[in-house]
């Protein structure tokens, strides 16, 4: 199995960015073709990895190196720090069933985002270079197995996003960009403290030095006795068990990304102000990094604390589901409505993960993938409308079905897929999250049954806001605020490029809904390993 495939996948965009910087700004759209070629290359690479990946049952839980394939492990920074020992930071990457589907999702969403950026006119060169840097950071986050490396990629993501929102965004772009930046930074600075704490609590059994390797951090056997985050020492900080505190800090860092109520308010602003492709990336990839971080890092390294807080996590999930759905019901801006629906749908991820059942957790991962496709599709559709008339207010449209039939078909499919119509991926995700949350009560007793019931109300509410929008905007006799000018602008139904972008998104949502084994076969081993890993500490 080729170990360089993953590295290639991560750093291709960097090479593309370097190449782009050599092409002069007058390069006649060459930049976007480079970006597209990079995206397609990555898609092929990740697709090949997806195909080559062989799910193997892990014997030693989630810390088992066997689980991680395409791994490569190269010493990166070695620094003698005197009495503090040697600093060991490795370039350690590898993928398992949690990260591989998300990698593929990211590659696809990136291609979609490049496609959606086709009409960008403002400093194209800078835009695509930033996009490529973001691309690399995202790929790195999903592949990193060294916590320090993870952190580097994680922070690296912020920078291009800040500029992409802040420069290419809408009217209140600066506010949104700064809000997004500060929110995320708020979470991640404390994460750094935990990383350092973990570093001093864990040694590499092979070299005896402290290490940032996540897999080594997971195994309590590698903990330094009596150290602050040692599983056995039971240290306390500020009167709270240190491991629980660390878990909470990490959880908040990732939960901001997910996002959870009440740490979600960056999301509507960022989504509304960001240009369409960035909204697509935000919803399609960035939110998943939160969920991925919770599963891989919070649950993997602190399973004991995760079990202690599971009830609260479930509650947060339920609150996010219902709150997000209710607030979405009150929106007039289509994009904001979809942003809030993201909050609601990502709540399912948290609820499923908190159930610590294979059904719930697999449902959560599946929901992440599904939401990646569908939210990208939804934001792209909003962008299509906005491109034409520069308005997104739901009340300013009526009867679009008669004006733009093909567009309406796309919207209707995307809406019904998002509200969990069977046959589409969201149904599998949400149904198994609900089932997982429900059986948690009788199998491991973590979540009470009412949480599953409350969560299912979110499914009902999602039907309400999506159908209301569909009825309000698309059906009825055509009546547009902008009158004939709008009608003329809208008469141009979905173009070939737009159709080409929508079809794979919807197609994948449909494919995963009809044949979920495509993703679940990969997810299963990792989820099983994680669930057993967590349940071992009970």
């Amino acid at each position: 199995m080729n170990t360089h495939l993953l590295t290639l996948l991560i750093f291709t965009p960097l090479a593309a960015a370097a190449l782009m910087s050599l092409v002069p700004s007058r390069g006649k759209g060459l930049h976007k073709y480079i970006a597209l070629a990079t995206g397609i290359l990555q898609l092929v690479l990740s697709g090949a990895m997806y195909y080559l990946y062989r799910p193997t049952e892990a014997e030693h839980g989630i810390a088992d190196e066997q689980l991680y394939q395409f791994a490569s492990h190269v010493p990166w920074i070695r620094l003698d720090m005197g009495s503090l020992g040697r600093l060991e930071i490795d370039y350690a990457v590898g993928v398992d069933g949690l990260s591989l589907p998300l990698l593929f999702l990211s590659a696809l969403v990136m291609v979609i985002a490049v496609g959606a950026s086709w009409k960008v006119a403002k400093s194209v060169k800078g835009y695509f270079i930033l996009l490529m840097i973001l691309n690399m950071a995202v790929m790195g986050v999903f592949s990193a197995l060294d916590f320090f490396l993870f952190y580097v990629f994680y922070e690296l993501m912020l920078l291009p996003l800040y500029f992409l929102i802040g420069i290419w965004g809408g009217a209140r772009r600066e506010y949104a960009a700064i809000k997004f930046f500060l929110y995320t930074l708020f979470g991640s600075v404390f994460m750094l403290l935990v990383i350092v704490g973990l570093y001093f609590s864990v040694t590499n059994p092979a070299t005896g030095a402290h290490t940032f390797n996540m897999l080594l951090m997971m195994d309590p056997a590698n903990h330094v006795p009596g150290s602050v985050f040692s599983a056995l020492a039971g240290q306390e900080l500020f009167g709270i068990p240190a491991r629980l505190l660390a878990f909470i800090v990490l959880f908040i860092a990732f939960a901001i990304k997910v996002p959870i109520v009440p740490l979600h308010t960056w999301l509507p602003d960022a989504h509304v102000e960001a240009p369409t492709p960035i909204s697509i990336i935000l919803a399609g990839i960035l939110l998943k990094i939160g969920g991925y971080g919770i599963l891989r890092i919070c649950f993997g390294i602190f399973p004991d604390a995760a079990l202690q807080s599971a009830w609260w996590l479930g509650l947060i999930g339920v609150v996010s589901i219902i709150y997000g759905a209710l607030v979405a019901l009150a929106q007039r801006d289509l994009k904001r409505m979809i942003a809030y629906s993201s909050v609601s749908h990502m709540g399912f991820v948290l609820l499923g993960a908190a159930s610590f059942t294979t059904e719930g957790m697999a449902g959560a991962v599946f929901q992440m993938i599904s939401h990646g496709f569908l939210s990208a599709a939804l934001f792209f559709l909003v962008g299509m409308l906005y491109d034409r008339v520069h308005d997104r207010n739901i009340y300013h449209f009526r009867g679009l079905a008669s004006v733009m039939p093909r567009f309406t078909v796309f919207v209707a499919i995307a809406f019904f897929a998002s509200l969990g119509l069977p046959g589409f991926s969201a149904f599998i995700g949400e149904a198994f999250v609900i089932i997982g949350a429900f059986i948690s009560g009788s199998t491991n007793g973590i979540l009470p049954e009412w949480m599953a019931i409350a969560g299912s109300i979110g499914i009902l509410l999602s039907a309400a806001y999506f159908l209301w929008t569909l009825q309000r905007m698309f059906f009825g006799l055509p009546r547009l605020k902008g009158g004939d000018a709008w009608a003329a602008a809208l008469r141009a139904d979905a173009s070939a490029r737009e159709t080409l972008i929508m079809v794979p998104l919807i197609g994948l949502a449909l494919l995963l809904g009809v044949y979920p084994a495509l993703a679940l076969d990969h997810i299963n081993t990792s989820v099983l390993a994680l669930v057993e890993w967590v349940n071992k500490v009970r």
Binding site: K179, V261, P262, A328, F438, I439, S456, Q471, D521
Partner: protein, 672 residues
């Protein structure tokens, strides 16, 4: 699990289910050119043949039970499977048998509609989902088909999507059905948590966990699961108080109403309950019986005063579904399924006839250019002379609905009533109210059915659009007439038994009969049919006098009348008591989100900024101020001292002298 061997009945089942799906794909791919519906009709015909073959193969013999591995979650495998037993074979055949006439009927009824290609696609999609629902072998697959029929129904109700009422109605239908779907989903979750499988055969076959009580479910959860499934059935089968979507759903094309909202989809709830029947304990059955009875009675009352021909039929459907539910509640699911079957034929026929009438009324409307509601029965009358075949078929259907001897309805409805009384005999005293209410509802059925017939066909035409335009009215065209005649034949007794007056010989009931039946009360088996028939004759006479002879004694302004006309104000209650608070809640939450949650964040940011400007001020004024003050002090001092430097020798000398003196004085006095 090994791959099941493909036997002919299995292939036939798959063909029956998948043919309409193929038709859907083909029609959708063809787009606007698929106007004549040939693909869909061919598909449903093949389905019918296949279904008949399956039925012949399965009825009374071993069920087909196969499953293919679909996906695994963790170590738990999920399957797509078929379970074709007597009930599902019957359902499979019934759906095809009703769907084919409706398809044929639609060729004429929907002719010339600009969106007809969508119509055929949706209709085929519906047939696929409904047939899938009938044969699905596990609850997950069944749930999927369950939602898909709802989706197809959504599409078809909103088929004329530029009509406001239609798109309001389909939204309402889907959302209310969603409530039921949640019940279904929770039921699935409860069963899965208890037994770790969703296979219907494993769960509810003979000697299974759900029956014998193994598995780790407490009795409370058993009841909850039963109620959850019932909630699902309530929404789909339009049971009180979730029935409100069905009258609105009449905004769809009439052919759609006949197939989906009368014969098949709305009966899916009854079918579901029959399928998971072993799950129900006494509490759940009692709840089902009472809900069914309340529905049957309330909907019959609402039907009494409606003027929209389709609304009358819609309420009648709800009422009849209530009868079926009550049958389930009595534990007599075979009777419920029997009534489902007879009802499917005659109710579908009623709608087709109504469609034929509406069709003609619309022609009149177009020709005259008058603006009137072609569905309002006050505008009709005397149509018997112009549409004799429609009149005859509709009369047969109405008589079946009323439960007149020689019809299928007579057999099934009387069986239901009889079993109702038998059931009441095994319960506490108050339970007798249930069958009594059903009997009253049955009489009300007679009333509104005869009222409809009288007003549309027999009474003198009111001073409406029909006066003077009779020449333009004629019977429905052939593609509409044949399905009507076919269904009329199916509504009569010979399809079910050759003994027209005794339900004991119905082959259908024998094939489905559960193991445990109620202790029979012989007398009722004679008394009830006779009494019911006499009652219907009396009611028929009364309605004839009232509506045909024009001796109407009541005033249409009474409180009860208005209550009935406005459907018990239930819709208004929902529109006032549920929707606005929900919308207000969402608005309040949004406000909170903007001002409290986000306000907190923004406040934090403002606080940070205030702190920063305070620090900047302090930095400029205090820290930097100190530095600048030192500099200024030095400068000022220098300036001050500079004054002494006059450049004049004598000044310097004087100063030197002065200092000398000071020093001297210091030395002198300091020494001292």
């Amino acid at each position: 699990m090994p791959v099941p061997t493909l036997t002919y009945p299995l292939l036939a089942t798959l063909a029956a289910v998948l043919m309409p799906f193929l038709a859907f794909l083909l029609t959708a791919a063809t787009g606007k050119k698929a106007r004549n519906g040939a693909v869909s009709i061919a598909a449903i015909s093949i389905s019918l043949l296949a279904a008949a073959y399956v039925f012949a193969h399965v009825w009374g013999k071993d069920p087909i039970h196969v499953q293919w591995h679909w996906f695994s979650i963790g170590r738990q495998a999920f399957h797509v499977g078929l379970l074709v037993n007597n009930a599902s074979a019957l359902m499979l055949l019934l759906v095809c048998l009703v769907a084919l006439p409706v398809h044929v009927y639609s060729t004429a009824y929907m002719k010339g509609d600009p969106g007809i290609h969508r119509y055929w696609a949706y209709l085929s999609l519906f047939c696929f989902a409904m047939l899938g629902l009938a044969v699905a072998g596990n609850l997950l697959l069944m749930y999927i088909c369950w939602e898909l029929v709802g989706f197809a129904s959504y599409l078809l109700i909103g088929f004329w999507f530029t009509r406001d009422a239609a798109i309001q109605a389909n939204k309402k239908a889907f959302i209310i059905n969603r409530i039921g779907d949640l019940g279904f989903l929770l039921g699935i979750a409860i069963l899965y948590s208890g037994f770790g499988t969703l296979d219907i055969q494993v769960l509810f076959g003979t000697d299974t966990p759900a029956v014998s009580g193994t598995g780790n479910l407490t009795p409370g959860w058993f009841t909850a699961a039963g109620l959850a499934f019932f909630l699902g059935a309530m929404a789909k089968s339009a049971q009180f108080p979730l029935h409100v979507w069905l009258p609105d759903a009449m905004e769809g094309p009439t052919s759609v109403s006949s197939l989906i909202h009368a014969a098949t989809m709305v009966a899916a709830g009854v079918f579901l309950l029959a399928r998971v029947f072993p799950l129900f304990d006494g509490t759940v059955l009692f709840v089902i019986a009472v809900t069914g009875t309340v529905t049957a009675f309330a909907a019959a009352c609402f039907a009494l005063t409606q003027y929209d021909i389709k609304k009358i039929l819609a309420f009648s459907t709800i009422s009849q579904l209530g009868f079926m539910m009550a049958g389930i509640g009595f534990g007599m699911y075979h009777v419920a399924l029997f009534h489902l079957t007879t009802h499917a034929f005659f109710k579908c026929l009623l709608f087709l006839c109504a469609g034929a009438v509406i069709h003609e009324m619309q022609h009149v409307k177009q020709k005259l250019g008058h603006d009137f509601d072609p569905q309002d029965i006050r505008n009709m009358g005397g149509l018997r002379k112009h549409m004799p075949i429609t009149c005859a078929t509709m009369s047969i259907a109405a008589l079946a609905l009323v439960g007149f001897p020689l019809t299928g309805g007579y057999l099934s409805k009387d069986a239901l009533l009889v079993h109702g009384f038998e059931w009441a005999a095994t319960q506490h005293g108050m339970a007798l109210a249930v069958p009594c209410a059903l009997a009253v509802a049955s009489m009300l059925t007679g009333f509104y059915s005869f009222r409809l017939l009288a007003k549309v066909f027999f009474a003198q035409p009111a001073a409406g659009p029909l006066t003077g335009s009779h020449a333009t009215l004629h019977d429905a065209p052939l593609p509409m007439r044949i399905p009507m005649l076919f269904l009329a034949a199916c509504s009569l007794f010979p399809l079910f038994t050759f003994h027209p007056l005794n339900d004991g010989h119905v082959w259908l009931l024998r094939g489905l009969a559960p193991d445990a039946t109620l202790p029979p009360l012989r007398l009722l088996h004679f008394a009830i049919p006779i009494l019911a028939t006499i009652a219907s004759v009396i009611i028929a006479t009364v309605t004839w006098r009232w509506y045909v002879l024009g001796k109407y004694p009541l005033k249409p302004q009474g409180a009860l009348y208005r209550l009935s006309l406005h459907q018990g104000y239930l819709d208004a209650l929902y529109m006032r008591a549920i929707i606005p608070p929900l919308m207000r809640l969402s608005a309040v939450l949004f406000w909170l989100d903007r001002h409290v949650v986000d306000g907190f964040v923004n406040g934090l940011a403002a606080g940070g900024r205030a702190l920063a400007s305070a620090a900047a001020w302090a930095d400029y004024r205090v820290v930097d101020g100190l530095v600048r003050m030192t500099g200024k002090l030095a400068l000022g001092l220098g300036n001050a001292l500079r004054r002494s430097q006059t450049g004049r020798v004598q000044h310097y000398l004087a100063l030197a002298f002065f200092l000398m003196v000071v020093m001297l004085l210091y030395f002198i006095f300091a020494r001292a």
